[in-house]
Amino acid sequence: MAVGQTATVVGLEGGREFRNRLVSMGMMMGCTLRVIRAANGSGHPVLVALGHARLAIGRGMAEKVMVHPEATARRHEGVKVAT
């Protein structure tokens, strides 16, 4: 995803612990996030805005957050936050 893009979380993959952690930090299915800093293959974590909170998510982790971008009208399930 590109910087500044907004998307809705549609699924969380990965282990139970990881998913619980994301959920407890407010990242639930249906919530909207905005990418502030993208990984762009650099290996850096992804920085997203979730409401007023700013979350840094490790690159490997971000690949497990499924979203569909809001900007594109068509449903686009399975887009990862980090690509």
Binding site: L12, G15, R16, E17, F18, R19, N20, R21, L22, V23, S24, M25, G26, M28, M29, G30, I36, R37, S42, G43, H44, P45, L47, A49, L50, G51, H52, A53, R54, L55, A56, I57, G58, R59, G60, M61
Partner: protein, 854 residues
């Protein structure tokens, strides 16, 4: 009348919980650990309207699952320790997520007050809250607070006390004289929806049939919810197989309905409940997107621009700590040296119980306490710097930047900061690992931290590198040694991560809190906490070990020496007396006259005790002799001449001290100033010569030949004696005993003995080498020691010593801090044994290969 009420503080990380805690308790707090785990437990007390209140600051968590140790600790505390009331600190600017924790605490049936903290920030962000309405919807009292300014604190405590009064576990507290607070209904239950509620009922029924005990006051419903979530602790708690079978059935059933594991569905329902309440009572008027924090982050978290800023910040923190810290450290060292000297002078010396006691007190206790305290300025300053980084919110950004690098060695971005501090001193670096959230990361970081070559080890390199390497090579060799440490640290981190500290690569999900200006109060409390913790926990261990090491280096005492040092010292004194008598003739006195030796006795005493003789000492001796002579009406010419002689000595010494470092006025001096100074000095000396008459040449001979010869002889004897004593002591015997094991590394017993000393602190290695080589342990003897080392060892051996000191045997302060911080002797033992074994292997390989090559 006072009654003890316990308030537990819960809340998300960065919700201002700690600020609120500090605001409530001030300095009346202490930090401990929860039993059995290494999670910090901060407690404090304060009095409110005559009621004594204990506050327990729970670890900051987002949830109360059983996944992280902090969450388990918080949950267990709330359930088992029955605080009278919980104050959940809610970040009002981040409402829904903060309430997620609040809802879970609510489900535990603990009386709770919500502190809507940072309500000013929320207002600034255009969030309008109808608190009474929200309070009614959630069924808990809400108080708006601003912890940074202290706003709302009184109301918050009133409210908490009111609740504690009616709380199920609370004692009756006299409430007369203040308001009872908001009227709220009973705490609401999260409605999980018919399908889930049905399954909850099934499980509760199964638990009731089994007459299962209820987990504290939380009740069976809570237990059933946790079982549905697959909570491991809840499963362990439930012993009834039928209830567990029902649980598994329910989970499968719900999974089938929702196509998602129940815990996620349950979380969704909680969020649903929260957002339902928020929709009615909270309005966000402005969609604030680009806040100031985001603008700062655009620069500071930038992968290219952010990095140099980060490095500059680290450099600044490092410099602040180790440059500013050097002054108080020096003062403290001088204070303890002075204390040791004063105590030494008061106590009897020599053999016998008195001497042993004095040595224990001076070298063991004062030395040990001094060693502990002299770390303190660095620790305080360092944690001040760390507190600034943390409280401002920058630490999370630093971790963000460093994560890519640290991730490669299986560590969290935050590990970078302790590792950097490790180049200054390992002890505060290990304490700084407290900023790491995961225990696994903390342990890995602690284990490898001693490989970051600390400042004390630099003294060893500074001794060996110039002894063996030409100037052009010195820099690269030093750099190479540091690099070896870093490479080994990376290798060890990877190895540990793949073996005993296996665990999934840390899930890097971290909140970047808002940038905030740290409060002075918060910083001071933070730094003081750490300093006190260090003194109390590590200090006692360090003191104990330093006394043991003192005993190792002092006992057993040698009864019969290889040489008769006393006789040799007496012989030196006889020579001195003969020389002084020969000066009698030069001064025109009879050879046997006693005045001169009498007048010099004070200086001789100083020399005999190894004390330096300063120009001031000479002036004092001269003045005393003069007083004696002038007080005596029948003063003889002998006394007059002795006085003149002493004054001449003092004058010459003073002139030399004043013009120290000025070369003689000879040859071509380009520097006009130094030429002028040397002329001035020569003129001064000429004046002294003119006014002193025959005393002048005698004084010169005494200062330049007689006294230095005597002092030098005594000095050598003392050093030889100390070398013999050390070699005879347990430390020396260990050194000798280790020689067969150390020989493959190229080490002899001297290095072995010095390594025993290095266990106390790395810089002791150099001092011990000085003693075993009988050149003395002071700084002035470094050159003498260096030439001894050059004579006895090859460059390869020198390199091996440096490698061994770099890798092996972390100093006892490090081991003590690791022990206390890791919460177990095991980890400290592993660190000590593991690193020493690694050092042995590396040094062995280097030495044996090196020998083949040379």
């Amino acid at each position: 009348m006072t009654a003890q009420v316990t308030i537990a503080l819960a809340g998300n990380p960065n919700s201002g919980k700690t600020t609120l805690f500090n605001r409530l308790t001030g300095l009346r707090q202490h930090v401990g650990n929860y039993p059995g785990v290494t999670v910090e437990k901060s407690e404090g007390t304060f009095t409110h309207h005559g009621v004594e209140i204990r506050v327990v600051d729970l670890p900051g968590t987002y949830s109360l699952t059983a996944f992280s140790i902090e969450e388990r600790v918080s949950r267990r505390y709330l359930m088992d320790d029955c605080p009278h009331v919980v104050v959940d600190v809610v970040d009002a600017s981040n409402l829904e997520r903060s309430l997620y924790l609040a809802v879970q605490i609510m489900e535990l049936h603990v009386p709770m007050v919500l502190a809507f903290n940072m309500s000013d920030v929320a207002r600034a962000r255009g969030i309008e809250m109808d608190l009474p309405k929200l309070s009614g919807l959630l069924g808990v009292p809400i108080v708006a607070t601003i912890a940074r300014t202290g706003e709302g604190m009184d109301v918050l405590v009133d409210q908490a006390l009111a609740l504690a009064g009616d709380g199920p576990a609370g004692p009756a507290i006299p409430m007369a004289g203040h308001q009872a607070g908001l009227e709220t209904g009973p705490a609401r239950q999260v409605p999980y929806g018919p399908e889930i509620e049905e399954e909850i009922e099934h499980i509760v029924a199964a638990l009731e049939v089994a007459c299962h005990q209820s987990p504290g006051r939380a009740g069976l419903r809570w237990l059933a919810v946790k079982l549905l979530e697959g909570d491991e602790e809840a499963r362990r708690f439930v012993t009834d197989p039928r209830a567990l079978a029902q649980t598994d059935r329910s989970i499968r059933h719900l999974q089938g309905i929702f196509g998602e594991s129940p815990e996620i569905v349950l979380a969704g329902r909680r969020y649903g409940f929260i957002s339902g309440a928020c929709q009615e009572a909270v309005r966000s008027t402005v969609e604030a997107r680009h806040t100031v924090s985001d603008k700062i982050d655009a620069v500071l978290t930038h992968p290219v621009v952010g990095l140099p800023i980060f490095l500059a910040m680290m450099y600044l923190a490092f410099q602040l700590t180790f440059t500013l810290g050097r002054y108080p450290m020096g003062w403290l060292e001088r204070l303890f040296a002075w204390l040791a000297g004063t105590v030494q002078a008061l106590l009897p010396t020599g053999p016998g119980v008195g001497g042993a006691l004095g040595s224990l007190l001076v070298d063991g206790v004062i030395g040990g306490v001094g060693g502990v305290i002299s770390f303190l300025p660095n620790i305080l300053l360092l944690f001040l710097a760390v507190a600034v980084l943390e409280d401002s919110g920058y630490m999370a950004r630093a971790a963000f930047l460093m994560d890519r690098l640290m991730h490669r060695i299986g560590l969290h971005g935050k590990s970078f900061i302790p590792m950097l501090i490790g180049f200054g001193c390992t002890v505060p670096a290990i304490m700084a690992t407290r900023t790491l959230d995961s225990r696994r990361d903390r342990l890995v970081t602690m284990m490898i931290l001693p490989l970051m070559s600390c400042g004390a080890r630099l003294t060893i390199y500074a001794l060996f590198i110039p002894a063996f390497f030409p100037p052009a090579w010195q820099g690269p060799v030093l750099w190479g040694i540091y690099l070896v440490g870093i490479v080994l640290a990376i290798a060890c981190a990877k190895l540990l991560g793949k073996t005993i500290l296996r665990g999934e690569a840390p899930a890097f999900v971290m909140e970047l809190p808002l940038y905030r200006l740290p409060t002075l109060r918060g910083l001071a409390i933070h730094a003081w906490d750490r300093g006190w913790l260090y003194l109390r926990k590590a200090g006692t261990v360090i003191l104990g070990i330093s006394i043991v090491l003192w005993a190792l280096a002092s006992y057993p005492k040698k009864q019969v020496y290889d040489r008769d040092y006393d006789a040799q010292a007496a012989a030196a004194r006889t020579t001195l007396e003969a020389d002084v008598r020969s000066m009698n003739l030069e001064l025109g006195l009879p050879a046997e006259s006693y005045e001169l030796p009498w007048a010099l006795r004070g200086l001789e005493y100083r020399a005999r005790h190894g004390d330096p003789i300063t120009p001031a000492d000479r002036r004092k001796a001269a003045d005393e002799a003069q007083d004696h002579a002038s007080g005596n009406p029948a003063s003889r010419p002998g006394e007059q001449r002795a006085v003149a002689f002493l004054h001449a000595c003092a004058a010459i010494d003073e002139a030399r001290a004043r013009f120290a470092g000025i070369p003689p006025a000879q040859g071509s001096q380009s520097d006009a100033q130094s030429l002028a100074l040397s002329h001035l000095r020569d003129q001064g000396l000429a004046d002294i010569a003119r006014s002193s008459g025959p005393a002048y040449p005698a004084a010169l001979r005494y200062l330049d030949e007689i006294e230095p010869a005597y002092v030098g002889q005594l000095h050598d004897l003392r050093n030889l004696r100390r070398a013999e004593e050390l070699s005879y002591s347990v430390a020396g015997r260990i050194g000798h005993g280790l020689e067969p094991a150390l020989r493959p590394l190229g080490f002899d017993w001297r290095i072995g003995t010095a390594l025993v000393g290095a266990a106390a602190a790395k810089e002791v290695f150099v001092a011990q080498m000085g003693i075993v080589f009988a050149v003395g342990e002071g700084r002035e003897q470094r050159d003498a020691l260096r030439s001894q080392i050059q004579e006895h060892y090859t460059p390869l051996q020198g390199l091996c010593v440096m490698l061994f000191c770099l890798i092996g045997m972390p100093c006892m302060a490090t081991v003590a801090v690791t022990w206390k911080e890791s919460g177990g002797k095991r980890w400290a033992a592993l660190q000590l044994a593991g690193l020493t074994a690694l050092a042995y292997v590396v040094t062995l390989v280097v030495y044996q290969f090196g020998r083949l090559l040379t």
